[in-house]
């Protein structure tokens, strides 16, 4: 289960809406081993694409250095799908390299009249996808 504050949830949704029709991406870091998302870090989608995202390689290095220095890890790795449901694609699964992270997918397809806004969370471990419950709280 992913437990997340309303404020972080809103920030992820706002970022996804802002970058629509491109895919938005980012991380919520938290203390190593705690499993608690705390620090919202929106990332630039270096691919600037409606169908693909990739962190810029220098930004990626800076991000991991910073997390390392602060004893943090990526608790959530999020990105948006702009025209399809919020479910990991084959591409998402093959590039998922953080088995300890919650992969959050949001779909901004609703802005195209394609249905309701979706916010879902998954574990992706060795190619296997497991959806989990998302619990939104006021504070931890």
């Amino acid at each position: 289960m992913l437990t997340i504050t309303q404020s972080l949830y809103d920030q992820i949704v706002a970022h996804a809406r802002e970058d629509h029709p491109d895919e938005a991406c980012g991380v919520v870091a938290g203390p190593v081993g705690a499993g608690r998302p705390e620090r919202f870090i929106p990332m630039l989608n270096a691919a600037r694409s409606p169908t693909f995202y990739e962190f810029d390689s220098q930004d990626l290095l800076k991000l991991y250095r910073e997390m390392d220095d602060r004893d943090e890890e990526p608790v959530i790795i999020y990105h948006s799908h702009t025209a399809t449901e919020a479910y990991p694609s084959r591409t998402d699964i093959s590039y998922a390299n953080e088995p300890g992270a919650h992969y959050v997918l949001v779909s901004t397809a609703d802005t195209d009249g394609a249905g309701e806004f979706q916010f879902r969370s998954f574990r992706i471990v060795e190619g296997e996808v497991t959806e989990e419950e998302v619990k939104v709280v006021e504070a931890y």
């Binding site: 895919e23 991406c25 991380v27 990332m43 691919a47 694409s49 169908t51 693909f52 995202y53 990739e54 962190f55 390689s57 220098q58 990626l60 290095l61 991991y64 890890e73 790795i77 990105h79 799908h81 702009t82 025209a83 399809t84 990991p88 694609s89 591409t91 998402d92 590039y95 998922a96 390299n97 953080e98 088995p99 300890g100």
Partner: protein, 92 residues
Amino acid sequence: MAIEVRIPTILRTYTDGQKAVEGNGETLAELFADLEARHPGIQARIVDGDQLRRFVNVYLNDEDVRFLDGISTKLADGDNVTILPAVAGGMA
């Protein structure tokens, strides 16, 4: 010639959980072959044939080696190499 190599979480299964290991080599290709000798299996996760895997980033002293000489990039004693899998995906 000692090179410090920082290992990402996903590859620490090959290094007994160590975040950094030491290796040797005149070039990145030699360094990864040297790592393979002590951490079997790790090379194939970084290298595909005679190139770096597309979605694995390798940095030499903070510079992405794709902007240097890729896997042929020359190394010097005391260099730092960082390996980080790309964070990427998308609906395509």
